[in-house]
C-alpha cells in the first residue's frame, strides 16, 4: 500500500501522542514528583471549579467569536468584489497581496501590529496629526488583541468566501436584477443564502484559528492577558504540570468542537427554514 508509510508517520507523530495526552489528562500531578499514574477527573474538575481558568476560557471564546464576526462582516464585501468586479490579472495580483500577509507567519505579523498599536507607534503619530494626545491604550488590551487577530484571520475568510461566490451562477443575480430587485435584496435573498455553507466553513475556520491563537495574545495582550493556547504552553512546558496541561488542551479542543458543531447545526436548521 502506497499510503502506508504516510499513515504510519501520522499515527506515530500525532495520533499516538494525542492518545498518550488523553491518558495523561487523567493522571495526578504532584508538585515534587510531577506526574503520578492515576485515573482521576481531578484536572477537569480543577478547571471547572476555578474561576480563573473559567475566565480564561470565556475570554478565549468571546474574543474568538467577536473576531470571527468582524472578519465575516469585512470579508463578504471584499470576497464578492474579487469574485464579481475584478479582472483576471488584477485578481491574481490581489490574491498574492492577500496571501503574503497570510503566509508571513504570526510572529512577524504580530510584530507589525505592535508597531502600529504602540503608544509611540504609527497610529498614535497619525492621530497626533489631528491633535490627539495622550495614551492610546491599545497595547495590552482586548481591543488590540482583537485587531491583531482580525488581521490574521481576514485573509482566510476572504479566500474561502471568494471561492464560494465564484461558484454561484451569475445568471441568478442577473435574473433577480431584471425582476427589479435592488442590490441589497439580491444579496440578502439570493447570494447569501446560496453562499451559506461557505460562509459557515469560513467562519468555523476563523473561529478555530483564533481559539488556538498563540502569538497575538502573548505579544499584544501581554503577560496578564490570558487566553487558552498560551496557558496550555505555560502549564506543559513551564510548570511541567502535564496532567493539567493535557486536560486544558482537551477542554480547548472539545469546547471548540462543541461550539462549531452547535452553531453549524443551528444555522443549517434556519437555512432549511429559509429555503422552504
Amino acid at each position: 500500500m502506497l499510503a502506508t508509510p504516510a499513515i504510519i508517520f501520522v499515527a506515530i507523530g500525532l495520533l499516538a501522542p494525542l492518545a498518550l495526552m488523553l491518558r495523561n489528562s487523567l493522571n495526578h500531578y504532584d508538585p515534587t514528583e510531577l506526574m503520578m499514574s492515576a485515573v482521576t477527573a481531578e484536572n477537569y474538575l480543577k478547571f471547572f471549579s476555578d474561576s480563573f481558568y473559567q475566565g480564561v476560557l470565556w475570554r478565549t471564546v468571546w474574543i474568538s467569536g467577536l473576531s470571527t464576526a468582524i472578519c465575516l462582516a469585512a470579508g463578504v464585501p471584499v470576497a464578492y468584489f474579487l469574485a464579481r468586479h475584478v479582472g483576471d490579472l488584477a485578481k491574481r495580483m490581489l490574491m498574492i497581496v492577500i496571501l503574503v500577509p497570510l503566509l508571513i507567519g504570526n510572529a512577524v505579523r504580530t510584530s507589525a501590529w505592535m508597531l502600529i498599536l504602540n503608544d509611540k507607534g504609527v497610529l498614535a503619530a497619525f492621530l497626533g496629526l489631528f491633535g490627539h494626545k495622550g495614551q492610546l491604550g491599545l497595547m495590552y488590551s482586548s481591543a488590540g488583541v482583537v485587531i491583531g487577530l482580525i488581521s490574521v484571520l481576514l485573509p482566510f475568510m476572504i479566500i474561502t468566501l471568494n471561492s464560494v461566490f465564484e461558484s454561484i451562477d451569475r445568471n441568478l443575480e442577473d435574473a433577480g436584477e431584471s425582476l427589479g430587485a435592488s442590490h441589497l435584496t439580491i444579496m440578502r435573498r439570493i447570494v447569501l443564502p446560496l453562499a451559506l455553507p461557505g460562509i459557515l466553513s469560513g467562519s468555523v475556520l476563523c473561529f478555530i484559528l483564533s481559539m488556538n491563537a498563540y502569538a497575538t495574545p502573548v505579544l499584544i495582550g501581554g503577560p496578564t492577558f490570558h487566553m487558552m493556547a498560551p496557558t496550555v504552553y505555560q502549564q506543559i512546558a513551564k510548570v511541567m504540570n502535564w496532567p493539567f496541561g493535557a486536560a486544558l488542551a482537551f477542554i480547548l479542543m472539545a469546547v471548540t468542537l462543541i461550539l462549531t458543531v452547535g452553531v453549524s447545526v443551528l444555522v443549517q436548521r434556519k437555512y432549511r427554514k429559509w429555503s422552504e
Partner: protein
C-alpha cells in the same frame, strides 16, 4: 451603467481598499521601519540606516535561527514529498475501502490545533526518552518530525488536486505499451503533475518555515527556529532589529509565493 450600479460598485471598491489596506499596511510599515535610524522605536523616523540589518545578522539567535529554520523546513519538505507523493497517488488512483478515513488521517495534522499537537508531541518525546534514553525533544530530529507533520497535509492536498485532473487512461496507455509501474510514475505521471508537486513543496516549505505553535515546545535552549527567536526577542525588546528580520522573511516568502503562483492557482491551496 446606472447610478445605482455605480454607487454599489463604488461601495465595494471602497470597502475592499480599506480591508486589503488593513491586511497589507502593517507589513509595509514594518518594512519601512527596518530602515529607521531611531535608537528607540518611534514615529516619525529621524533618518534612515541599514544598520539594523547588520545588527540582526550579528545576533546569533536570529542568524542561527534562520539557518535552522531553513534546514528544518527543507528536510521536512523532502520527507513530505517522499511520504506524500505515494500517498496522494493511492488516494486518487486506488480503489479500496476506507479511502475517506485515510484522507482524514493524513489531513489530521492540519486539523488538530498546533498548540495541542505540539504539546502532545513534546510529552510523547519525553516519554520515549524516559523509556529508551534517546533524546528527541529539543533535538533536530524532533523538530524535523514535527515540521514534516506540518508539511505533509499541504503536500498531499496540492498533489491530489493536480492528480485528479489527470485521466488514468494516460497511465494505462503507457502500461499497455509495456512500461513498469515505476517507469510509468517517473516518465508519465510525475511530468504531468509537476506543477502540483512544485506548488505542494512550496506550500509545505512555507507553512513549516513560519510555524510557531508546534515548534515552540520542541526547540532547545541553544537552537531555536527563526519564529521562536522572533517571539522570544519580542517579549522583552522592540526595536528595528525585528523590522530587519521581518523584512527578510517577507521578501523570501513573497518570492516563494510568486514562484508558486506560476505553477498553480494559489487560492486553490486553501
Amino acid at each position: 451603467m446606472s447610478n445605482q450600479e455605480k454607487s454599489v460598485r463604488l461601495a465595494y471598491t471602497g470597502t475592499s481598499i480599506l480591508v486589503i489596506g488593513f491586511i497589507v499596511l502593517p507589513l509595509v510599515f514594518i518594512v519601512w521601519m527596518s530602515f529607521f535610524s531611531n535608537k528607540i522605536l518611534s514615529f516619525p523616523p529621524e533618518g534612515y540606516t541599514l544598520d539594523w540589518y547588520r545588527r540582526a545578522w550579528e545576533m546569533s539567535d536570529f542568524r542561527n535561527g534562520f539557518f535552522l529554520s531553513l534546514r528544518t523546513s527543507l528536510i521536512a519538505t523532502c520527507v513530505a514529498l517522499g511520504l506524500g507523493l505515494p500517498a496522494s497517488f493511492a488516494l486518487v488512483r486506488g480503489r479500496f475501502k476506507g479511502r475517506e478515513t485515510i484522507n482524514t488521517i493524513l489531513m489530521s495534522p492540519m486539523i488538530v490545533p498546533g498548540i495541542v499537537g505540539g504539546s502532545a508531541l513534546f510529552v510523547f518525546f519525553l516519554e520515549v526518552e524516559f523509556l529508551t534514553g534517546w533524546r528527541i525533544a529539543g533535538s533536530s530530529i524532533g523538530l524535523i518530525i514535527a515540521h514534516s507533520l506540518i508539511a505533509l497535509p499541504w503536500m498531499i492536498r496540492l498533489v491530489t488536486t493536480s492528480l485528479i485532473s489527470v485521466p488514468p487512461s494516460v497511465e494505462e496507455a503507457a502500461r499497455s505499451l509495456g512500461a513498469g509501474p515505476l517507469t510509468v510514475f517517473f516518465r508519465v505521471t510525475l511530468p504531468v503533475i509537476r506543477s502540483g508537486v512544485i506548488a505542494g513543496s512550496l506550500f509545505a516549505f512555507v507553512n513549516s518555515f513560519i510555524d510557531l505553535e508546534k515548534s515552540i515546545f520542541l526547540v532547545g535552549p541553544d537552537s531555536t527556529t527563526l519564529q521562536i527567536a522572533l517571539i522570544n526577542y519580542l517579549e522583552w525588546n522592540f526595536d528595528s532589529t525585528i523590522g530587519a528580520v521581518a523584512t527578510v522573511q517577507i521578501g523570501l516568502i513573497t518570492l516563494l509565493l510568486l514562484i508558486s503562483d506560476r505553477y498553480a492557482k494559489l487560492s486553490r491551496a486553501f
